[in-house]
Structure formats: structure tokens, C-alpha cells
Symmetry: C2
Subunit: 362 residues, 2 copies
């Protein structure tokens, strides 16, 4: 039954949609076998009020907040219901149209900042893996025809850095069809103007063209290709985190964009009925290797999939997970990564994290 939830979740993510998985946990005293009840709330359903899943209103409100903010929530008030609300965001993708001297540092910075990067150019000498080692995909195809080789959706950030305004127009005719998270186009004011005029004459509305950031990038006075790439990636980050508003308000919180362990979700979606445990990071404090939402699967005979950060603490959690698999149910476990030894060894982590370990049988 949970397998179908994870299958639906993956479908939503692949369509560029966010979703929330709510897990309601019965008290540990309860002897019921079905004490972990999971519900998938999709972005579309969340707009439909709380009528489909008939959730507790407080939990539903918290799920909506999780969907907007990307913040995982875990409440374990004694006497009340214990619940885990996990927002899932699609992996952000950066599509770089054009493989020239701006694309090179941009692809590198994009990958470094956590985007899955795709670079497209029609020249084999510019569209190859040697030139873009950090890109997930490098596509050599004309700008007109390339658009059926990748998807653009609400978690896709599109940067147009081709070598000429004709290619820009070829790209924009396609890009403007989709609801991308970000569209930016490089070019002098004159080139941008001529591209916009051409598209207006073809029937594109001013409103559609206004969605495009052109000239591209934050106005930091960038001169070199590396600086221009920084100005672009900084703007892309602002769209990822603030939705392009460049200002914070209570209504639109900073989007946390939680960690996504796709490999773990795919395993869970298979519905294999071998007993295992799911370990989820539910809160962190200070400097820790992985953030809330990170997941690891543990099988009783020692196999694992995914990671909550490695090191000694992971070994301890694997040990505890075996008990959880044996006894069913769930456990909440703190992990202390502070301490003098950590600092003296110059390790990155020096914080605390809390994980939930759930037993998992189909």
C-alpha cells in the first residue's frame, strides 16, 4: 500500500510538482500493527481544501505550510498524536541553452549549487562532456529541435546564452510555452529589444515576455565570464529560494527545498516485502552533513541504501534500526555530532541531528 504512495510521489516529482507525505504514528504502547499510516497530499489536492483525505485540520494546515516552505515537521507531543510531515520538492534543474564562454562557468557553479545541469549547443565542439564535466546531460542538437529531448516544468530554471539572436528566438518560442521557475536571456539591451520585438510581432504577449529576465543576472557590474556566471546563478538562487521576489515576507517564506533521496523513494516504490527500516533526518542543529528530509534504508542483514551523513553515528543508527525492524514500530533517536574531537579533527560537522527510524513492511 505504501509502495503506491511512493509511486505516485515520484510521478508528481517528475512532473515538476511538489507533494507532502503525512505519517501518523500511534503511541508505542499500542499493539496495533498498523500504527504507521501514510497519506500523500499532492500540490493540486492541497488547493481543494481538506476534503479528500479527511485529515485533522491542524495537520492539514501544517502540511500546507510544509508544501510552501519545504520545511519538514515532526511533532511528538506526549499524549497527542505523533506525526511526521515531509515535503518533497522535485530536484531543481538548470537548462543552459548555448555552450559558450558564459555557459562553462555557469554549468560548473550550477552543479555546485545543487542543480541538475543540462547544456545544449548545436556545435559538437561546444556540446561535449569534456567541456562540461559537471553537467548531468550535454545535448548536441539544434536549438529549434532540442526541446523534445528534455522537460521544462515548475522546477526548471532556464538560461539562454546562445551566440546569436536568431538562436535566442528559436529557444524562446519553445521556452515560453512552459511554466518554468526562471527564464533569463543574455544579450545587450539592443539585442534583447530586437528579440522581444520579433516575438511580439509573432503574437507573443508583453506579459509572457516580461517573465524573462533580460538583461540576465543581478546588476553587480559583472565583467568577466566568471563574474557574469555568478550574477546569473545568484539570480537563479533568488528564484529558487524566494520565487523571484528578492524580498522575504511571512506570506512567502524562504523555500527550504528539502533534500531528496530519489534512490530511496524508488526502492520504496517497488513494494518489495522484505522487512527493512527507513531512517529519516527530522531535525538538525549546527553544522551537520545532511539536512532534514535525508533518508537511508537499512536491511536487517546490514545492507543500506542512501545516507544520513556517514561516520560513527550512522553505524550506531544501523544497529538500532535492526531492533526497530525486529520489533516493528518506530523510534526517535538523537545523534550528537558535537564534541571537542570533531572540532580538533577539522571535520565539517559539529551539530546535532534527530532521526526517526520506521519499520517498513508492505
Amino acid at each position: 500500500m505504501n509502495a503506491s504512495i511512493y509511486r505516485n510521489l515520484i510521478n508528481e516529482l517528475d512532473a515538476g510538482k511538489k507533494a507532502v507525505v503525512v505519517t501518523i504514528m500511534s503511541d508505542k504502547d499500542s499493539e496495533s500493527n498498523s500504527f504507521l499510516e501514510k497519506t500523500l497530499l499532492t500540490e493540486g489536492e492541497m488547493g481543494l481544501q481538506n476534503c479528500i483525505h479527511n485529515l485533522d485540520e491542524v495537520i492539514f494546515q501544517k502540511a500546507q505550510y510544509a508544501l510552501e516552505s519545504g520545511n519538514l515537521q515532526f511533532d511528538k507531543d506526549p499524549g497527542k498524536k505523533t506525526y511526521l510531515i515531509e515535503p518533497y520538492f522535485p530536484e531543481p534543474r538548470l537548462i543552459v541553452l548555448g555552450g559558450g564562454h558564459i555557459a562553462k562557468p555557469l554549468a560548473e557553479f550550477g552543479a555546485r549549487l545543487g542543480f541538475l545541469v543540462t547544456v545544449i549547443d548545436d556545435r559538437p565542439s561546444f556540446a561535449n562532456k569534456e567541456r562540461f564535466p559537471d553537467a548531468e546531460r550535454v545535448i548536441c542538437e539544434s536549438f529549434e529541435k532540442c526541446f523534445n529531448l528534455f522537460r521544462i516544468n515548475e522546477s526548471t530554471f532556464v538560461v539562454i546564452v546562445t551566440r546569436g539572436h536568431r538562436h535566442d528566438i528559436d529557444c524562446l518560442r519553445q521556452v515560453l510555452k512552459y511554466n518554468a521557475a526562471y527564464i533569463g536571456m543574455i544579450g545587450s539591451k539592443r539585442r534583447v529589444k530586437s528579440v522581444k520585438e520579433q516575438l511580439l510581432s509573432e503574437g507573443y504577449s508583453q506579459e509572457m515576455l516580461n517573465k524573462m529576465n533580460a538583461p540576465i543576472g543581478l546588476a553587480i557590474g559583472a565583467i568577466t565570464p566568471d563574474e557574469i556566471a555568478i550574477s546569473i546563478i545568484a539570480q537563479v538562487i533568488s528564484y529558487r529560494r524566494l520565487g523571484g521576489t528578492m524580498s522575504l515576507s511571512a506570506k512567502s517564506p524562504k523555500m527550504n527545498w528539502p533534500e531528496l533521496d530519489r534512490i530511496v523513494l524508488e526502492e520504496l516504490s517497488k513494494g518489495e516485502n522484505d522487512p527493512k527500516a527507513v531512517v529519516t533526518v527530522v531535525s538538525t542543529k549546527g553544522s551537520v552533513p545532511r539536512k532534514a528530509g535525508a533518508k537511508m534504508l537499512v536491511w536487517p542483514y546490514g545492507k543500506t541504501l542512501g545516507s544520513i551523513g556517514g561516520g560513527c553515528s550512522e553505524g550506531e543508527i544501523i544497529h538500532i534500526a535492526r531492533d526497530v525492524i525486529r520489533n516493528r514500530g518506530y523510534m526517535v533517536q538523537p545523534i550528537d555530532m558535537t564534541g571537542q574531537i570533531v572540532e580538533d579533527e577539522g571535520m565539517v560537522c559539529g551539530g546535532m541531528m534527530e532521526v526517526v527510524i520506521e519499520s517498513c513492511v508492505e
Copy 2:
């Protein structure tokens, strides 16, 4: 005589000052031996009107523009004077106080963006070359005592990312003494407020504290250490290029911050009297490996120092330079880096550049 100009130039640069070298060239027909006349204009002198060097007023105005914009100028109108106006800017330095999880990506991005990076921390496990491979210097010293180990001047960008507000205060007490190009300090609003209150109570003025960017970085909604480092380096770039105004005007042009071949200047400052030629890139178009201001020295027997970009074109220039050394005087030479071959080979360069080759004997 020119050697002393270069010695003075290096002194100015080391003090964080900009300067301009004006070279006035006689016509090639002239048989005079002193047809290359060089003048050093320092930043201080430029404020003193045009009285010291008695330069042509047009040239003096252009030198002032070069000092503000960083743009090299080369005029070779036939019939008029030929002159080369070269602005020299100190190498920009990024001082990172604190070696924690923000400092790590920041030092990397800073070096990548052309800054000479110094990282300081009082913990050996955080202040070491393994942790900061891209930093020019890593200093392990207390934040109180470290300030006599490096210099802060008008081309120094200072980022305070220590692990606590006491260290912040130790840093600021020192940093605020200098006229740094940029000061930024990380910290929550509360931490920043408490640091400012402490310093106000010690007699620092509100005006001085206002020079500091705190909270640090552009407001792009950064969450991860890498994103925070991007928001900081983007702000640092805006100070480097726009002087912190984040807006362009005719009065304050984008600062080009020309290439500095210190190794070449140091050689010229020695005043060795062996004949050689100085090759200077004076203009570029399109994608070229080095920009205006790049310098290379060529000796008649084939030795070179510095580089104008390498490749076949450099070989050709070295050949021509030998003629210039033999015949004295100077030559202007275009270098064509366009052409199908370049593009097909996926090379970075596909532009044009123009170089001036001057013979040079003390």
C-alpha cells in the same frame, strides 16, 4: 630612468593605490632615440590638477578617466601624437576572517573570481592549506593579533565569518581602522545588533559602523553554505566593479580592473640594461585569452616573461619583437584569433587583439 617609474608604480600598488603610466610615442619617421617618453601619474597627484607633469590637457583628462574606469587607452591618430595610457590597479585581495563552513566555499569562489585570498582562524584544524587549497595565504593566529600579519587597504575586501560575536568584535576593532574596499560581517540580526552596540559603547561612530555590510551578502534567500558564499562573493564583486553603488552611472563607470602582470613590472623595475621588448595588449574584441593591459617581455635570444595568451600568435609576436629590439622604436600589431579552425577545435578564443611592441633599453 623607466626603471624608477616602475619601482614607484610597484610602491603605489603595494599601498593599495591605483596609478597611470602615460607613454607618448614619437612618429616612426623621427630618428630621435628618445621617442618613447613615460610618465607615472599617481592617484594622489591626479587630484592636484595637471601641474606636476605638464601633460597635454587631453591626455591628462584621458589619464583621469583611465584611473577611474580601469580602461586602457591607445590612440594612434595619424598626424597627431600617439599615446598609450595604462591604468594600473592593485591586485584585489579578499581577507576571510574565520575558517568555518562559509569560509570554505567563499575562499574557493574568491580565488576563482580573481582575488588573492587570505584566510585567518585561530584553530589549527580550520587554518590549514589542506582545507583552503585555493587561498594564497592561510594564517593561524588569534583574531586579535593577526592584523599585523597582512595589510588592509583600498583594494582589500574583508569578510568576517568567525564563529562568535566576541571574535567579530576583535576583528572589527582592527578592520574599522582601515579604508577597506568592502567590509561584510555574517550573523543574525540579533548578533549584528549586539556587536554594533558594543562597538558604539566603545566610541566607534555610527557612520563607521554603517560602512559594514551586516547582515552580509545580497538578499537572494541563500540557505546552504555554498549559497551564502555566492551571496557574499556577488556582493564583493559589486563593490569591486561598482564601488558598492549597485547602480551604473556615467559618473561612476563599471571598473574594469585591468590585468596586472606584476612579474613583468618587477623585471622592468630592476633597470637591467639588456635590450628587450615589452609587448602590451592594448585592445581586444570577442573571446580572447587575455585582456587589455596584459604584458609580456621578450629578449632577443628568445627568453620571455609573462604571457599575452600563448598559442601560435604569441610565436609570431615574439618574432616581430626581435625586429623591434634591433630597430628600436615601437610597432602596433593586430592578432587575429578568429577563424573556423578555432571554433571547430572548441578553443576558448575566437577574437581579435591588438598589441603594442616597444623596445626597451635603460
